[in-house]
């Protein structure tokens, strides 16, 4: 393998891992507050389709991304209204959100399938992007990738050093204790869910506006689900999420690598890789029952009703 190929693989790895990183960071905050939102896939699809249509009609990528985030947030508030406001089963509500988002995105995007747009272009930072191997990977990406580095830092700091981060963790570990300390349990959870929704919307928008600038039905292709597995893999820690996201990015571009090296492997078998890797990783990380129990937020997925 020559150095150019490795440089390009590293570049593509980060690019492919970015939507996973963004949506997984959002879901991390959501899950640390004790809310399991399985609707990531649906929220991403809505972000993708709304971002695409807005950019196509207004010509503004900026506006596309902003409304993709808004779309993800609105979807997450639909989830919150039912799962938090009405105390419904979070697993079922999340599934409903994914099914509904899949349908709604396909419905409103039906007339836009295959229409090309000019996507977000990479911006190479002078000098830094010329560093061998990692220069292109870190300094020749598009703005959203740079933003994702910042978002990672933000979430990392949020849980490590901020007061609000501590509140989120307390609410997820034991909402009753948090409630008796006077912490606003429900408000914290609504905000965490909204943050997760916005991140999912942004990740979806990244797919349709930068990664592959077009809209196709179901184009998120399970990334929302992979991100959910990523949070488990990362044992609910931000620093491990960035590592995991790029690892999955690498698994997803394996087909390009293998084709680049000239091995004749079926594209359908290679396309399985990220999903198979997800199962493998889940198996490895979950097999220690004690440990995985220790890491999981205690109240994850359980409804909290202040009066009961």
């Amino acid at each position: 393998m020559d150095i150019d190929l490795i440089t390009n693989i590293l570049y593509a790895m980060v690019r492919t891992g970015t939507p996973l990183l963004i949506v997984a960071l959002g879901e991390l905050v959501c899950e640390r507050s004790g809310v399991l939102n399985l609707g990531q896939e649906g929220m991403m699809l809505m972000g993708a389709v709304v971002g695409f249509i807005v950019t196509l009609t207004t010509g503004s990528l900026m506006l596309g991304f902003i409304l993709a985030i808004v779309a993800g947030m609105l979807m997450s508030m639909l989830f919150a209204a039912i799962a938090l406001g009405l105390n419904a089963n979070q697993v079922a509500t999340g599934l409903a959100l994914t099914i509904f988002g899949t349908g709604l995105s396909a419905f409103i995007g039906a007339g836009y399938v295959g229409v090309p747009i000019t996507g977000l272009e990479p911006i190479a930072i002078p000098y830094l992007s010329d560093i061998p191997l990692i220069g292109k990977m870190l300094f020749a990406q598009d703005l959203v990738v740079y933003l994702s580095f910042g978002l990672f830092g933000l979430v990392y700091w949020f849980f490590k050093s901020s007061r609000l981060g501590l509140t989120v963790k307390a609410v997820g570990e034991n909402p009753h204790a948090a409630n008796s300390l006077g912490l606003p349990v429900m408000r914290t959870r609504y905000l965490a869910v909204a943050f997760g929704g916005g991140m999912a919307g942004l990740a979806g928008g990244y797919l349709s506006l930068a990664y592959t600038p077009l809209w196709a039905e179901n184009m998120v292709a399970g990334r929302g689900w992979i991100a959910l597995a990523l949070v488990v893999f990362a044992t609910w820690r931000a620093d491990r999420i960035i590592f995991g996201a790029y690892l999955f990015g690498l698994a997803s571009i394996l087909n390009l690598v293998v084709q680049g090296l000239g091995y004749p492997v079926s594209p359908n078998l290679l396309a399985m890789m990220p999903y198979a890797a997800t199962v493998l990783v889940l198996v490895m990380i979950s097999s220690n029952v004690m440990k995985s129990k220790m890491y999981t937020p205690m109240w994850l997925g359980k409804p909290f009703h202040p009066h009961s």
Partner: protein
């Protein structure tokens, strides 16, 4: 807040039956508003969606053709959900069933035997059952979350199917199209009603509903499954074998979904093609919840879901709306159901704004 949710002392039985009907009604109303919003006469649009597809015998046949795989998947999922095993993988188990059934059927292209069809269907059940068992085993042996593994297995199953349909299962005389050869007549499910596509798959679905009903309500294994779902600690104390129960529910639900897949390739399709299911396995999740995990409820919910599929197809032709209207209505139905279900355990209390005594005194 003027409205407050207050826990009921015990779950309301009547509300648990009323909630699906209420959800259906709300979906109907929202659907009417939705069509009106698109510029169609809502009454006429809903007639096209819900009544026109089943106005004649052929339509009724189509309804059963679609209801059969949904019912098979949903009744299997009900068994898993009863045990609190969240099998979201009916779609993948259906695909693996279709793939396994095709593998056998393609070996029997020229065989004229009464055994061909049972063999094809059984291999479908085996394919789906093993695919389900794999996720069950990963949960009991490695503690891997079955929601995520079954979802991943759905994607893997789809790509496996594509691999074979583009590869060794492709018809050599098919001009390069990704489709297998048409199955032999002895591997095809016979048609029940002349001039329709209604095949005996619907009988298998009805039989499965009855068998699962008996199993859940009359057998010891059904009792164990229900106890496991209600209180896993109680199941442990009673000495029920947890791992074996998870394996059983995953095999049963996988095998039924596999049978659904076999029934599709050996039924209305008659060959293996890249897309053998328009998301029946996902729709079955909604059906299982809508039918309250009860066989009778699942029967009616499957019929409704099949109608939504047919209505979506007809609406695409007559009203020129995208086919995705089907999954839109499916998602809406589940949302309304979950929202209505709240009133099983909670009641709404209206709070009149009042001045609190402490405030009055001060």
């Amino acid at each position: 807040m003027f409205l407050k949710l207050e826990p009921r002392g015990e779950a309301s039985r009547s509300m648990s039956y009323l909630s699906p009907l209420l959800a259906g009604l709300l979906t109907l109303i929202s659907g009417g508003i939705f069509f009106a919003f698109l510029g169609h006469d809502p009454i006429d649009a809903l007639r096209i969606f819900l009544i026109a597809p089943v106005e004649d015998l052929y339509g009724f046949g189509e309804l059963c053709v679609k209801a059969a795989p949904i019912m098979l998947c949903a009744i299997g999922l009900a068994v898993a959900f009863k045990a609190q095993v969240w099998n979201i993988g009916a779609e993948g188990q259906l695909l693996m069933g279709g793939l396994a059934a095709s593998a056998v059927a393609l070996q029997l292209l020229d065989v004229e035997s009464l055994w061909a069809l049972p063999l094809v269907l059984l291999s479908g059940m085996l394919g789906g059952g093993l695919w389900g068992l794999l996720a069950g085993w990963l949960r009991t042996r490695f503690n891997a979350n079955e929601i995520l593994t079954t979802i991943m297995f759905n994607y893997i199953a789809l790509y496996l199917l594509l691999y074979f349909v583009h590869g060794s299962f492709k018809d050599p005389d098919g001009y390069g199209f990704p489709a297998s050869a048409m199955f032999g007549d002895s591997s095809i499910l016979p048609v029940l009603l002349e001039d329709t596509r209604l095949h005996i798959g619907i009988l298998f679905a009805l039989l499965a509903v009855v068998i699962i009903w008996v199993m859940l309500s009359r057998s010891f294994i059904g009792f164990q499954i229900k106890v496991l779902g209600l209180d896993s600690n109680a199941a442990k104390l009673a000495g029920f074998k947890h791992k074996r129960l998870v394996a059983i529910v995953m095999i049963v639900s996988g095998a039924l979904a596999g049978l659904a897949g076999a029934g599709e390739v050996a039924g209305p399709i008659g060959q293996l093609i890249p897309s053998i299911s328009p998301g029946y396995g996902y729709a079955a999740i909604i059906v299982a919840f809508l039918g309250r995990l009860h066989p009778v409820g699942i029967f009616f919910a499957s019929m409704l879901m099949a109608l939504i599929y047919l209505g979506g197809e007809l609406a695409q032709i007559e009203l020129n709306v995208p086919l995705a209207v089907t999954s839109l209505f499916q998602g809406m139905l589940l949302f309304y159901l979950l929202a209505c279900d709240v009133f099983i355990n909670f009641k709404i209390k209206f709070n009149r704004p009042q001045i609190s005594p402490t405030l009055e005194n001060s």
